[in-house]
Amino acid sequence: MARLSKDDVLRLAHLARIELSNDEIEEFLIELNEVLAYFQQLQSLDTKGIIETNQVNGLTNVMRDDQLIDYGYAPRVLLKNLPLKMDDQIQVKRMVE
């Protein structure tokens, strides 16, 4: 059974790109281990040969012609919520040294 260490929580938080405070790390370490222990009960069910369910309504891929459809979403309106922008472009902080 998996038990998370403090380093594991830090690694997972970094994978998820979330900066945690020290208090949160301590708290999550206890809580997440409790939740993982609860998950353990799934191992009691033999699911050998059973196919996983990804979705439930049986729909398969739908194909359509590659045509532009105008849903009336104006780019300028969509860009209004950008925290940082320059000339209607998304602006981000530096990525490489």
Binding site: I18, S21, F39, Q41, I51, N54, V77, P83
Partner: protein, 480 residues
């Protein structure tokens, strides 16, 4: 509390024949929204200006001899995870503070085309993560029957809004019970339709293989009408399915002697409150007296449904919430010096604790080395659960059980213990895993005067049949 609105059908008729008006109904709803705010905190945003403008337009259309639709002039409240054009939409999370919806949810469009008027946004657990609205960044919604208790969640604001009579109906979303459980806690009707029946375009995603949209109302007939308006294929949500050919209105009376009901035995083993149990057994007696065949049915894998759900849902949450990156919308940390630090700080400061918890659980179950043992395992358990439901629906028309193990719990009672909070969903998550329709109906009060709910389920795409039987339960319960 004044749950005094007539049926939706009567309201629309009155608006159309001039004995009432859209503007009167909208004013009444807006006044009630404002009046409850301090005491109950059911809503977190009022859409006064837009609502009055829409109401005026509807009255004008009627004066010009036009028909504004089956919900003409009827005010409603939408959970804060529905995008409403040009208004702030936050899913009750600070990370979306200031986010103005650049388009509108298909469900809202459908309701507006039918003449309905959205007057406010309901409080909720942030990103619909929770069973009490205590995870809202805007404070908890208080239970209309006892303000020291929760309204349930995550659609607690929507359920409280209907119970308080602010509006005749509200919209909620249900990923693991988020419509049904607060409906039960607040003594109203909450419908989670078949997965895919209502378009989710423009609704903030939580767990995409589980999320459903549905109405919260005072009576079954009203829930049926709202479902009828919202349901069906939408090219903007490729998971949508066709609605029933007969629609969901004009519900004929069901002959109880033709009905077979299975009582899920596992739901009686899991710390079920005595009064919730007694009220359910009393209802079953009444249904039997009416001719229904009622017997126990075992769905053994439903015992594992909660563990299964709390792997699959957070996995999908971790993926869906990756879009909140501090770059495209919402909270963005300005102190960061580079892109990665922008992500880390914006998400670290913007998300509440429960969103972080779920993202990290989801990241873990999907991570290399643990994927097979957790995520893949949960997806096979999901298949087992589905198979058991499918087998049960071969023998029974309906399955019945409690909505939650208890009535509304105290504010603060579970909020310090995430696992205890997750256990509040123990009886509702299976319907989401199986994609079947399920409805929560009022089933009397306990000795403290708190509402008890009963949960009725039917096979996939049997939403119409579900509503027929729900109406019978409502009728049986109306003569106490």
């Amino acid at each position: 509390m004044q749950q005094d609105w007539p049926t939706l059908k009567e309201l629309a008729t009155a608006v159309k024949n001039g004995s009432s008006s859209a503007i009167d109904l909208t004013h009444r709803a807006l006044e009630r929204v404002e009046r409850q705010q301090k005491k109950y905190n059911a809503t977190i945003l009022t859409l006064k200006e837009a609502a009055l403008k829409r109401a005026e337009a509807i009255d004008r259309a009627i004066a010009e001899g036009k028909d504004p639709g089956v919900l003409a002039g009827i005010p409603f409240i939408a959970k804060d995870n529905f995008l409403i054009l040009n208004s702030e939409t936050r899913a009750a999370s600070n990370i979306l503070s200031g986010f103005i919806a650049p388009y509108q949810a298909s469900a809202i469009n459908a309701l507006e085309r039918a003449g309905a008027v959205c007057v406010a946004k309901a409080n909720m657990d942030a990103f619909a993560h929770g069973a009490s609205t205590e995870n809202s960044d805007f404070g908890v919604t208080k239970n209309p029957y006892d303000t020291s208790r929760v309204a349930g969640g995550s659609s607690g604001g929507s359920a409280a809004s209907v119970a308080l009579g602010l509006v005749p109906f509200a919209l909620g979303t249900d990923t693991g019970g988020s419509i049904r459980q607060p409906a039960a806690f607040c003594g109203v009707v909450g419908l989670k339709p078949t997965y895919g029946l209502v378009s989710r375009n423009g609704v903030i995603a939580m767990g995409s293989s589980l999320d459903c949209i549905g109405p919260i109302t005072s009576r079954v007939e009203d829930a049926a009408l709202v479902l009828d308006v919202m349901s069906g294929r939408d090219e903007l949500d490729s998971t949508t399915i066709e609605k029933d050919k007969l629609g969901y209105t004009n519900l004929e009376k069901l002959k109880l002697d033709k009905v077979k009901i299975g009582v899920i035995s596992e739901y009686f083993e899991q710390g079920l409150d005595d009064e919730v149990k007694a009220k359910l057994l009393k209802l079953l007696k009444k249904l039997e007296a009416g001719g229904a065949k009622v017997s126990n049915v075992s769905l053994p894998s439903t015992k594992l449904a909660l563990a299964c759900y709390y792997i699959i849902a957070p996995a999908e949450v971790s993926s869906n919430l990756s879009r909140y990156d501090g770059i495209r919308y919402g909270y963005s940390d300005r102190d960061a010096n580079d892109l990665e630090q922008t992500y880390l700080n914006s998400r670290g400061k913007g998300f509440g604790k429960e969103a972080k918890r779920r993202i990290i659980i989801g990241t873990f179950v999907l991570s290399s080395g643990y994927y097979d043992a957790y995520y893949k395992k949960a997806m096979t358990v999901r298949t087992k659960i589905i198979n058991e439901f499918d087998a049960a629906f071969k023998d029974y028309d309906y399955l019945i059980g409690p909505v939650a193990p208890t009535t509304a719990f105290k504010i603060g009672e579970k909020s310090k213990d995430p696992l205890q909070m997750y256990l509040a969903d123990v009886m509702t998550v299976a319907a989401n895993l199986a994609g079947i329709p399920s409805i929560s109906l009022p089933n009397g009060l306990d000795e403290k005067g708190l509402p008890i709910g009963v949960q009725l389920m039917a096979g996939r795409q049997n939403d119409r049949n579900l509503l027929l039987m729900a109406k019978m339960i409502e009728e049986v319960n109306s003569h106490a």
